[in-house]
C-alpha cells in the first residue's frame, strides 16, 4: 500500500473556511490523529477523505488513486474509495444482525459465499465478537457495538481506516480498555489509520503522530512526545496538557535571558532570547503538575517564586487541585500535600516555563 497525501485541502461554507489549506501525509501503516477542539475542522477533514464531504479545493490521493483533485475535477464517490469509516455513533444498521452487518460490505463486493463466511468469522474473532453473530445491534452494549462497527470495516480490508471519535461514547473505564485494544489491533494489521478526537490523552496514547488543529488549520504536527514536550504555541500547550498561561511584558535581564513582568509587577525569569520585533508581549505556559506550592513557613528558596492566593481547592483522590490567583491570572496547580490558609508562594521552575512571543 501507499501513503495518503492530502495537499492544500480547503472546505469553505460561504465566507467561512472550516478547513483552510491543510496538508499532511500519512505514511503506510501509520496511525495519525487529528486532534483539536470542536469546530476545528478535524471531522470535515476526515469526511473529505472518506468522500462524504466535498472539499472546495485541494487534493487527496493514496498511491496512484486520486480521491479528490479540485484542479482535475476529480471527486470519487465514497463507495469507490475503499476506505473504512467507524462513526462515533457506530451506525450499525438496525435491521440487520451482527453477521449481516459485517457481511454486507462483502456482498457488495460479490465475494463468494464460502470465502465471505470465513472472512466474517475472521473479522468477528479479531474483535472477539464471534459469539454474538446472531444478535441484533440493539441487544449489544456500547462497547460491543463499537467492536462490531470496527469488524464491519476491517472485514473488507480497506485501504485506509478512518475513525471518528470512536471511543467518546464509552464510559471512562471501557474507553481505557478499548484504547489499548485498538492500538494493538492497528499495529497487528498495520493499517494506515486516521483518527479524529478531541481527547488529548487518547491522542497521546494511540498515535504515531498527532496533527493538532485549530480554526481549520494544522497548528502543529509531530510525535506525541514532540507535541507534549515542545508545543509550538500557547494553544497547543494549553490544549495538550492543560497548561496555565501567564502573559506580560518581557524585559531584558542582563546577559541571562529575560524577565516576564506580570500585571501586578511580579517577575519571572524566563530562559529565552529577547527579540528585535516591535511587540514585547510574552506568554508563558506551564503545566499544573510542574508548579510547586509553599507557605511562608516553608521558606522556599527557588528563584521563580510568585505570591498567590488559593481561591478553591478540590480533593481529587490521588492529588489535590488548587485554583490560585496570581494578580489577575488564575492558575491550576496539582499538589499532593494539604495546605491550609490562602496566602501561598508558587514556584515556577525556569526549565518548565515554555515561552511564546505574541504578535500584535
Amino acid at each position: 500500500m501507499a501513503d495518503l497525501i492530502v495537499t492544500g485541502l480547503t472546505r469553505a461554507y460561504g465566507p467561512v473556511r472550516a478547513v483552510d489549506d491543510v496538508s499532511f501525509t500519512v505514511r503506510d501503516g501509520e496511525f495519525l490523529t487529528l486532534l483539536g477542539p470542536s469546530g476545528c475542522g478535524k471531522s470535515t477533514t476526515l469526511f473529505s477523505i472518506a468522500g462524504l464531504d466535498r472539499p472546495t479545493a485541494g487534493r487527496i490521493a493514496i498511491g496512484d488513486t486520486v480521491f479528490y483533485d479540485s484542479a482535475q475535477q476529480i471527486h470519487l464517490p465514497p463507495e469507490r474509495r475503499n476506505c473504512g469509516l467507524v462513526f462515533q455513533s457506530y451506525a450499525l444498521w438496525p435491521h440487520m444482525t451482527v453477521r449481516a452487518n459485517v457481511e454486507f460490505p462483502l456482498r457488495l463486493r460479490k465475494v463468494p459465499a464460502a470465502q465471505a463466511k470465513a472472512k466474517v468469522e475472521w473479522a468477528l474473532s479479531l474483535v472477539e465478537m464471534q459469539d454474538y453473530a446472531h444478535r441484533w445491534p440493539h441487544e449489544l452494549s456500547g462497547g460491543q457495538q463499537q467492536r462490531v462497527a470496527l469488524a464491519r470495516t476491517l472485514v473488507y480490508e480497506p485501504l485506509l481506516l478512518l475513525l471518528d471519535e470512536p471511543l467518546s461514547n464509552l464510559d471512562a473505564k471501557l474507553r481505557l480498555r478499548a484504547r489499548g485494544w485498538l492500538r494493538d489491533l492497528q499495529s497487528r494489521l498495520k493499517l494506515t489509520t486516521v483518527y479524529v478526537t478531541h481527547d488529548q490523552e487518547e491522542a497521546l496514547a494511540l498515535s504515531d503522530r498527532i496533527a493538532v488543529m485549530n480554526g481549520g488549520e494544522i497548528v502543529q504536527l509531530g510525535t506525541p512526545q514532540d507535541i507534549y514536550l515542545q508545543p509550538r504555541s500557547a494553544f497547543v500547550a494549553d490544549f495538550v496538557g492543560h497548561s496555565n498561561i501567564l502573559s506580560g511584558e518581557a524585559v531584558r535581564n542582563g546577559q541571562a535571558g529575560i524577565l516576564l513582568v506580570l500585571s501586578d509587577r511580579q517577575k519571572l525569569h524566563i530562559d529565552t532570547e529577547p527579540r528585535a520585533a516591535a511587540s514585547n508581549r510574552l506568554q508563558v505556559a506551564i503545566r499544573p503538575e510542574h508548579i510547586a506550592l509553599f507557605t511562608a513557613a516553608d521558606r522556599p528558596t527557588g528563584e521563580n517564586l510568585l505570591r498567590g492566593r488559593i481561591v478553591q481547592r478540590d480533593f481529587l483522590g490521588a492529588h489535590i487541585e488548587y485554583i490560585v490567583e496570581v494578580g489577575d491570572t488564575t492558575l491550576r496547580v496539582m499538589g499532593t500535600k494539604q495546605i491550609s490558609g490562602s496566602e501561598v508562594l508558587l514556584e515556577l521552575p525556569v526549565q518548565r516555563c515554555m515561552p511564546f512571543w505574541q504578535d500584535e
Binding site: E79, L85, F87, Q88, F104, P105, R152, T153, Y156
Partner: protein, 579 residues
C-alpha cells in the same frame, strides 16, 4: 492483504459505475413521472381555459373570452360568494371545536381521556360523504331527529340547508384535523415552560391564558388557513344539503357546468377550475409562508415529560361530558342512524323502525352487478394506487433528503403542490389529458386513469407520512453504507427503505383508506365499467335511493374502520421500532 484488496477494488469499481447509471436512471425517472403527474392536468386546464372550443374538437383558437364570459355570469359570482361564506363559517366552527377540545384533552385531567381522544379523531377515517349522509338522515330537512322535534316542539332551531347550517357541519367535519394538529403542537411544546409559570405564581387558568394558548398561536394561524382551504374545496356537504335547496357553491358549480349539461362549455369550465386552483394555491402559499419550512411535518410523538394535568375539582366531569355528548350527537348517532336506515324501509319518528326491518337494501345492492364491480374496482384502485404512490414517494423522499440531486428541492415543491388542487379539478384535468393526448383516450373511463389521478392526489399525504421517518434515520447509517462500498441506489434499497419499512406500510394503509373513500376526483373520470364506491354513492343519492345509499355507506364504513384500526396498530408498532 495487499493481494486481496486490488482485484476486489476493481470489481467494486466496475460494478459501481454500472449501478451509478442505474441510480441516475431511477432518479430521473422519478422526477419525470412526478413532474408529469402534477403539471400535466394543471397545464391542460390552463390550456383549455384559453381555447375557444373543447380540446377534442378541431378549429380551436386562443382566447381570453372564457374568463370574460365567466366574469359576466351572476351565478358564478354567487357560487364564489357562497363558497367564501361557507369557508368562513366552517373555519370558525372547526377552530373553536378543534382548539378547545385539543386543550381540554391535553391539559385537563379527565376520566376516559384516551377513549374520548380516539372518538373525537375517528371521523378522520370516515368518508366526508358518508358522514354527511349520516347527518342528513338525522338532522336533514326530513331527518329523524328534525321530524321528531318538530312533532314535539313544533320546530327545530337549525336549518341545515342554509350556509350557516352547512358551515357548522363543515366545521364539524374538519374539527378532528384541527384537534389532531393542535394536540401534536401542544405535545411538542416544552412542558417545563408551563411548570416554570406555575412556580412563579401563575394560577392554572393564568398559565393556559398567558403561556399555553400564546405558544399555540403559530399552529392556530396555520390551521385557520388549512381549514379555509378545506372549506373552499368542500364538495360533500354543498352537494347533499345545498344542491336540493338550490344553493350553489364553487365545487357544485364546476359539477353542474361540466356534467349537468348536455353540451358542457369546457372553455368556461376550465376558466372556473383554474380560478379555483389559483384561489386555493394562494392560501396554501400563505400558509407555507406562515409556518416556515421547518414545521411542515407535524408528527405526533410522545414526550417523556408529560405536562401536569389540570384538576378541575368538582367540575372535572364537565369537559368529558361535553366531549362525550358532542361525539354522541355528531358521530355515533348519525352513523348509527345511517346503519339503521340501511335495514329499514322507512325511517321516521311516526312509525317504529322495528316494524319495517328489511334486508332488501343490501339484497338490492348485492343483486346489482354494478355494486360488486364498484367494490372490486375500489379495492383495485386503492390497492394498486396506494402501492404506486408509496413506492414513488418513498423514492422521491430519499432523493430529496438523501442525495445531492440538483432537482431535489424542486421535487419537494412538486410533491406538495397537489395539496393546492381540489379533487374535482384533478378529475377535470386528467379527463382532458386523456382526451387531448393521442393514445391516452384508451384510458378514458377505465380504472387506470383513476389510479393515475389518485396517485397525484396522494403525493402530499404519502410524503408527509414517510418524510419524518426518513429524516429520523441517522445520516451515519447511509454514510457508513456508502463508505463500505454501496452506491446511492444500493444504500436506498438495502439500508434506508428497509429501516423505513414500517412507515412505508403505514403510508400504504393511509393511502388505501383515503383512496377508498375518495369521490371528488372520480366524479369526472368514471365511465361505464369503471365505477367506484364513491361515485356509485353519489349516483344513487342523485336517484333518491336513500336505503341503498345507506347500505353502501355501511359497507364502505366497515371497510374503512378495519383499515383505520390497522393504521393505528401500525402507528404504535412504529413508535416502538424507532425508540
Amino acid at each position: 492483504m495487499n493481494s486481496a484488496t486490488t482485484p476486489e477494488r476493481m470489481l467494486a469499481s466496475a460494478a459501481g459505475s454500472a449501478q451509478r447509471d442505474a441510480a441516475a436512471t431511477v432518479q430521473s425517472g422519478v422526477a419525470v413521472i412526478i413532474t408529469l403527474l402534477v403539471i400535466a392536468p394543471l397545464l391542460m386546464i390552463l390550456y383549455q381555459s384559453l381555447q375557444t372550443a373543447a380540446l377534442y374538437e378541431t378549429g380551436r383558437s386562443w382566447t381570453l373570452g372564457n374568463y370574460a364570459k365567466l366574469f359576466t355570469q351572476a351565478e358564478f359570482f354567487g357560487a364564489v360568494k357562497n363558497s367564501l361564506a361557507l369557508a368562513v363559517v366552517s373555519t370558525s366552527v372547526a377552530m373553536v371545536i378543534g382548539v378547545l377540545s385539543a386543550i381540554a384533552l391535553s391539559r385537563i385531567a379527565m376520566p376516559m381521556r384516551n377513549w374520548l381522544e380516539s372518538a373525537m379523531l375517528a371521523p378522520i377515517y370516515v368518508s366526508q360523504l358518508v358522514l354527511a349522509f349520516g347527518w342528513y338522515v338525522l338532522y336533514g330537512p326530513s331527518g329523524y331527529i328534525t321530524l321528531a322535534l318538530k312533532r314535539w316542539l313544533g320546530g327545530v332551531p337549525w336549518d341545515l340547508a342554509s350556509i350557516t347550517g352547512m358551515g357548522v357541519l363543515g366545521g364539524m367535519a374538519m374539527a378532528p384535523y384541527i384537534m389532531l394538529n393542535c394536540m401534536s403542537s401542544l405535545a411538542l411544546t416544552d412542558a417545563s415552560l408551563e411548570d416554570a409559570a406555575r412556580s412563579t405564581g401563575a394560577s392554572p387558568w393564568r398559565v393556559l391564558r398567558s403561556i399555553t394558548i400564546p405558544l399555540l398561536r403559530p399552529a392556530i394561524v396555520y390551521l385557520v388557513l388549512l381549514s379555509f382551504v378545506g372549506g373552499l374545496e368542500m364538495l360533500s356537504i354543498p352537494l347533499i344539503f345545498g344542491w336540493p335547496a338550490g344553493l350553489e357553491f364553487f365545487t357544485t358549480y364546476l359539477l353542474r357546468e361540466g356534467l349537468g349539461k348536455t353540451v358542457p362549455d369546457y372553455g368556461m369550465l376550465g376558466a372556473a377550475a383554474f380560478i379555483l386552483v389559483v384561489l386555493v394555491a394562494s392560501f396554501v402559499l400563505l400558509q407555507r409562508k406562515v409556518i416556515g419550512a421547518a414545521q411542515r411535518y407535524v408528527t405526533v410523538r410522545g414526550k417523556a415529560q408529560r405536562p401536569k394535568l389540570l384538576d378541575l375539582g368538582p367540575w372535572r366531569w364537565l369537559p368529558p361530558l361535553a366531549l362525550a355528548l358532542y361525539v354522541l350527537f355528531t358521530s355515533i348517532l348519525p352513523l348509527a342512524g345511517l346503519g339503521l336506515r340501511a335495514v329499514v324501509r322507512f325511517l321516521t319518528p311516526l312509525v317504529s323502525p322495528w316494524d319495517y326491518l328489511t334486508l332488501d337494501h343490501f339484497r338490492a345492492l348485492f343483486q346489482q352487478e354494478i355494486f360488486g364491480r364498484a367494490l372490486l374496482n375500489s379495492v383495485i384502485v386503492s390497492g394498486v394506487g396506494a402501492a404506486l404512490t408509496t413506492v414513488l414517494v418513498a423514492l422521491a423522499a430519499v432523493m430529496i433528503h438523501r442525495s445531492e440531486h440538483r432537482f431535489g428541492r424542486h421535487l419537494e415543491l412538486l410533491v406538495l403542490l397537489p395539496r393546492a388542487v381540489p379533487g374535482m379539478v384533478v378529475g377535470i384535468g386528467f379527463l382532458w389529458v386523456t382526451l387531448w393526448t393521442p393514445g391516452l383516450s384508451l384510458l378514458h373511463g377505465t380504472i387506470w386513469i383513476l389510479i393515475i389521478a389518485y396517485t397525484m392526489r396522494g403525493l402530499p399525504t404519502a410524503y408527509a407520512s414517510i418524510t419524518p421517518t426518513v429524516l429520523q434515520i441517522g445520516r451515519e447509517l447511509d454514510q457508513s453504507a456508502r463508505v463500505s462500498g454501496a452506491d446511492w441506489w444500493t444504500t436506498c434499497w438495502k439500508i434506508v427503505l428497509p429501516i423505513a419499512k414500517t412507515a412505508l406500510g403505514a403510508s400504504y394503509l393511509l393511502l388505501f383508506l383515503s383512496f377508498f373513500k375518495e369521490y371528488a376526483a372520480a366524479v369526472y373520470l368514471t365511465g361505464a365499467g369503471g365505477e367506484v364506491v364513491g361515485t356509485q354513492l353519489l349516483h344513487m343519492w342523485a336517484k333518491g335511493d336513500a336505503g341503498p345509499v345507506a347500505a353502501l355507506s355501511v359497507v364502505q364504513l366497515a371497510f374503512t374502520l378495519v383499515l383505520a384500526w390497522m393504521i393505528r396498530r401500525m402507528g404504535k408498532e412504529q413508535k416502538t421500532w424507532l425508540t
